[in-house]
Amino acid sequence: MLTVNLILVLVVLTNLKLLGSSRLGASIRVVAAQGVVLGLLPILAHLHELSLRFALLAAGTIAIKGVVFPWLLFRAVREAEVTRQIEPYVGYVASLIAGVLALGVSFWMCTRLPLPEGIASPWLVPVSFFSIFAGLFLIVSRKRAVSQVLGFLVLENGIYTFGVGVTARTPLLVEAGVLLDVFVAVFVMGITIFHINREFDHIESDRLSTLKD
């Protein structure tokens, strides 16, 4: 219970750090750290019914989110030689305020839903909602393609938090499929970023604005 709560607090703090951070490299590291911390969640949330399934899930998550994704994204950033600034549409202070508001809304929303029994911590659901909001906010408020991918990863981490913490009975095949899909998604996004870089000499998605009505 205590360790689960500690992880959830870390997730909240990393989200706030991402919302207020102006440096791309630091943001990639923070998302990687969040991935590793969340990788421990399936083991800690189900300590009493520990099985090979959760160990495999934890190992896979840590390997992909903590090692493969940061490597891919650092590669994309390095080859793109982008300036280290994140360049937001919404300023950092405003982002942080929005983040705190989202945190409040998440906790309020959870008072409206009947929480399932046997859940590892009452904070699991609100924190997962907060990560989802923070991820969505990062996607729409940042210009760089890499930052948008980071937002997507935070969003996915939020959904993962809910899935691992609340629903214990998702079969391994589906979990593996989800992990594989996310991996391929980030992989394809990385390749696309590489092409965006080659085409535009920099990777700002706000340059992607020719197509409109």
């Binding site: 989802i132 609340v166 589906v174 499929g177 092409h195 085409e199 604005s209 197509l211």
Partner: protein, 490 residues
């Protein structure tokens, strides 16, 4: 049998990445498409046994959408082979801005195309909601490289929007899956709680608040992929920048796959007694899509975007049909078949027009009937079909939905539906007639169309015509079976 349907294109796709000779690759593409269609036809003759402990099974809805996907892929694969014969591995000049660009390697294109077929097949046969999610996300990932076939900045922009918007949308559908799992937790008896038949059977004991939340998130998630307004923003870009054969598959098959995901959700909602709640959301999204489609069709300057917005409109019609339930749901299923065929036909023809006129601008394309009579005639046939003129199939399906609206007492909805169909008809008429008639630009090529440019769209056109004259009894039976699971007054 079901496993073979999924694995065959998967293996062929992976093999296509490694094949060195292009003739062999194209052979593999055609061969796989034919074999897949044959297997699908065999499924009509004798229903296949479920596989993987009931996770993969072919029910009426699955069979219908599998047939659409497989049939469309077969027709389009012939067009693709001809297209690659002209376009593969060469530099090309952009018709609009005049710069040079490369095309993606043919091995990647054909490989992804076959993986795409495998993912779509998995969508149609999945009975497990988690597996369904994995498959729908896989269709996004396999089709993204296809949209980026022409390697220039516009297609790159379209690909990025497609990837990001659809991935975020589908991520929310994953959350919906978890919500559904929580809703089903009290009635759970071992890991099978996410299988459709099990959910429907235990529906009355599902927790209502979680089920409602799941339902709304499914609408956001799969609605994005299906192109329901206001979540459609990726759709016109991807459809206008992808090669025409890919646009045809996106519009005719992928949108239907996402639609199937939502239909599955509605089946659970109906069984849980939340059918009316789901139907209201269907109706709202359908009406918004119809309005958005009509607004952007009027005064549209790009004919591929025109077809894309017509897809938004038609997805709206499908949503309205399901929202009405009963006979409306029957009409929606029939409309899904008709729309796939007609829209794929038009997208293939738009490819012919683009190679001839080197422009996607409606005002640049004049005198199509004089320059290329065969393409021109088919283009007009496609126009009559998509706007729902008798005797084409779309007339029948739109009429069924309209009649369901009147019979259900939704007079205002029916009047609104008719008014917007009329507006869209006017918008499309201006565009299509202008393109068909008039004085062609001087530098336009006047050589004859090739067989692969004409035969696939002609076959699709004949099928739409056939469905307008008579709906086969077997097909009608399947449509009734699906409609009966979607609630509403029968």
């Amino acid at each position: 049998m079901i496993l073979a349907l999924v694995i065959l294109p998967l293996v062929a796709g992976l093999a296509a990445f490694g094949l060195a000779r292009s003739a062999l690759r194209r052979g593999v593409l055609i061969g796989t498409a034919v074999a897949h269609a044959a297997l699908t036809a065999a499924c009509w003759a004798s229903p296949p046994a479920p596989a993987l402990a009931g996770w993969l099974a072919l029910d009426a809805a699955g069979l219908l959408f599998l047939s659409i996907t497989s049939g469309l892929f077969l027709v389009v694969s012939f067009y693709v082979v001809g297209y690659l014969g002209q376009e593969a591995n060469r530099r090309a000049t952009d018709p609009e801005e005049g710069f040079l660009f490369d095309n993606a390697p043919e091995a990647v294109f054909i490989g992804c195309l076959l993986l795409f077929l495998s993912a779509m097949t998995l969508v149609t046969v999945s009975q497990h909601f988690g597996l369904l999610w994995v498959a729908i996300e896989a269709t996004t990932l396999a089709s993204a490289p296809l949209i980026y076939f022409h390697r220039h900045h516009r297609s790159l922009e379209a690909t990025w929007k497609y990837l990001l918007i659809c991935s975020v949308g589908i991520a929310l559908a994953l959350l919906a899956n978890f919500f559904l799992n929580v809703a089903a937790a009290p009635a759970d008896s071992g890991g099978s709680s996410m299988v459709l038949s099990h959910l429907v059977a235990s529906a009355p004991s599902l927790q209502t608040p979680w089920l409602k939340a799941a339902c709304l998130l499914f609408f956001v998630g799969y609605g994005t992929k299906m192109g329901l307004a206001p979540l459609h923003t990726w759709l016109p870009d991807a459809h206008s920048e992808a090669p025409s054969a890919i646009s045809a598959l996106l519009s005719g098959a992928v949108l239907n796959c996402a639609f199937l995901g939502l239909v599955r959700m509605q089946q659970v909602c109906v069984a849980a007694g939340l059918g009316d709640f789901g139907r209201d959301v269907w109706l709202a999204l359908g009406v918004v899509s119809l309005v958005v489609g009509a607004i952007f069709i009027l005064g549209q300057t790009d004919y591929k975007r025109l077809l894309a917005y017509s897809s938004v409109e038609n997805m709206g019609i499908l949503a309205i049909g399901v929202g009405l339930g009963g006979a409306g749901a029957f009409g929606a299923m029939l409309h899904a078949v008709n729309h796939s065929l007609a829209k794929a036909m038009l997208f293939l023809l738009s490819g012919n027009i683009l190679t001839r006129y080197r422009s996607k601008n409606i005002s640049q394309v004049r005198g199509l009937l004089a320059v290329a009579p065969a393409t021109g005639v088919l283009w007009m046939v496609g126009f009559l079909a998509i706007t729902g003129t008798p005797p084409f199939g779309l007339f029948l399906s739109k009429f069924t939905i309209l009649k369901a609206a009147f019979d259900g007492g939704h007079v205002w909805l029916a009047a609104f539906f008719l008014a917007f169909l009329a507006i869209i008809f006017i918008g499309m008429t201006t565009a299509f007639l202008g393109m068909a008639q008039g004085e062609p630009p001087k530098q336009t090529r006047r050589d004859r169309d090739l067989w692969w440019q004409l035969l696939p769209p002609a076959v699709l056109g004949l099928l739409v015509l056939w469905l307008g004259l008579a709906v086969p009894a077997r097909l009608s039976g399947v449509l009734h079976q699906i409609a009966s699971t979607l609630g509403g007054t029968q």
